[in-house]
Amino acid sequence: MNKLIRSAVLGTTAALALALVASVAPGTATATTLKEVKDKGTLVVGVKADYKPYGFLDSDGKIVGIEPTLAADVAKKLGVKLELVPVVSSNRMQFLEQGKIDLMIATMTDTPEREKVVEIVKPNYYSSGTNVMAPKKAKFKEWTDLKGVPVCGIQGAFYNRKTQEQFGADIVAFKGTAEALTALKQGRCVAFVYDDSFLISKLGDPEWADYDMPLKTIDDAPWGLAVAKGADKFAAFMSDMIKDWHKTGRILELETKYGVKNTPFALEMHEKYKGS
C-alpha cells in the first residue's frame, strides 16, 4: 500500500510538472518585426490606463491621453490599425517579451536593468523627475528631512526604494494616485513621493493650496518607449519617429493639449532637433 501511495504521488507530481513545461513551451514568441506588423495590419501598443494625462480612460471606456495619441501616430505612419492594450508596471515588460504587444509606450523610466530585458529606443521621448508634495507647514528642506516620516507612494514605482533606503522614509504604498492623495489629506502620511510633472499639475488646483513641492527634484530620468529585443528594424523606425516628434514639437503640443506645463526636457529636445 505504501509503495502504491508513493508511486501515485510521484506520478501526479510528474504529471503536474509535465503540464507546466507544456504550458511554458509555446510562450517563447519571437520579437515582432516591422514586416510582421504590416502583414498583420494591426499595431498592438501597451499603454497605461491609470496615469492621467499620459494614459487614462474616457467615459466611453476608451484609452486616451498623450501616449495613446503617440501610439496612434505610429500606427498612422505604418498605415495599420491601432490596438491599445492597458498595461501596468508589473506586466508591461513581460507582455513585450511574450510578443503580446508590439510596442510599449507606458511611462517607463529608462534604466540599465530594463535595457537588458527590452530594447529601449533612443532618443528618449520624455522625462520626469521625482519630488514630494507636502503640507507647507511641514517645512521640509532636504530629502534627508524625510527620515522616519511616513511617506505615501504608488505601488511599483522605482523611487519608493530609494526614498526608503537612502533617505530613511517609511513608504506607505497605494494602488493609485486617488488613494495616495486621500491618505495625504487625511494625514496618514506627511508627504507624497511621485513624478514631479504630476505633482506640478496637482498643485495648480486650489484644493491643494496649502501644499507645496519643497524639495529639489531628483533623479530626472528619461522615459523610454520599447520594442522587443532583437526587433532592430522596428527600433530604428521608432527612433526616427521619436526624432520627428521632437523636431515638429509634437510632444510639446500634446502636453499643452492635456494641460501639462511644457517640461524642460521636451523643450530642450525640441531645440536640439528643430534644425535637423
Binding site: M1, L4, I5, S7, A8, V9, G11, T12, L16, L20, S23, V24, P26, G27, A29, A49, D50, Y51, K52, F56, L57, D58, S59, D60, G61, P86, V87, V88, S90, N91, Q94, F95, Q98, G99, K100, K175, G176, T177, A178, E179, L181, T182, K185, K202
Partner: protein, 299 residues
Amino acid sequence: MSRRPRNRPPVDLAGTTDLPVLLPAADSLARRAARERELGAALPRLDWRHGLVLLAVLLVSAGVAQAQAGAGREPVLEVLLRWMPVLLRGFLFNIVISFLAMAVGTLIGTWLGLMQISLLPPVRVGSWFVTQFFRNAPWLVLLFYCMFLLPFEFRIGGLVIPFPDWIKATIGLSLPVLANVSEIVRGAVNSIPSGQWEASESLAFNRRQILWMIILPQCVKRMLPPWMNLYAILTMATVLASIVGVSEMMTQAGRVLAAEDRPDLLIPIYSFVLLCFFVYCYPIARWTVALERRFQVKL
C-alpha cells in the same frame, strides 16, 4: 467470488435520528438557537437591509464628497452616472469569469470527486493529492501562476488561437473551484447512508450503476447549497483578477479614479462596486438559505 470492501467510512447509526447525515446541521442549528435565546436577539444574517445600508453609505458619501468638493465641480452622482457604463461593463466581466470558472470547475471537480472514491488506490490517491493541492493553495497564487505561465496565444500549425488575460484568469480561478467541488462531491457521496449501497447491491446493480442511478441523484440536493455558496465566494474572488491586470470592475474603478483625479470620489465609487456585488450575490445567498432549510430536519 469475494469482493473487496468498499472505500466508505462506517456510518454511525447509533443516534437519536434516523437521518444520521443531517446531524451536524441539526447540531449547528440548535447551537445557533441557543445562542440567540441567550442574547435575546436574532443573530444577524445577510438580508436586504444590508443592501439598504450600502446604498445609504453610497448616498451619504456622495453627499459628503459633494460638500467637500465645493460648488465649482460636477456633482458626484452625475460623475457616477457618467462612468456607470464603464463600471458595469467591468462588472459583466466579473460575472462572465465567475460563470465560466464555475462551469469548468464543476465539470472537472465532479470527476475528481468521483475519482476520490475510486476502488483503485492510485486513482484515489492521485485525485486526493490534486484536490488537496489546489484546495490548500491561495487563490491569488494560483491566479498568478496561470497569468504568467500560460502563453497569450496558441499556435497549432498555422492556426493562431488567442488566449486573452480574462480566459487565463478564468482558468486560474477554476483550479481552486474544482478542488472544492471535488470535496463537495466526495463528501456528499460518503454522506449517503450505507443501506442505499447494500440495498442496490442486493438488487444486482453493479458499482457504476449504483453510483449513477442511485447514489448521485440523491447527492444532488445535498451538494446544491455548498455548491451555491462556493459560487458566491468565487464571484467575490473575481476581483482578484484586477491584481493581474484584467479589466474587470475593480480595475475599471481604479482607472476611473485615476481619470477623474478627485480624491473625494474614492468612497462613492468603491461603495458603488460593493453595492453591485451585493445586488448580485444577495439573491444567491437567500436562495441557498432557502434550499438549506428545505433539506434540513425540522427542529
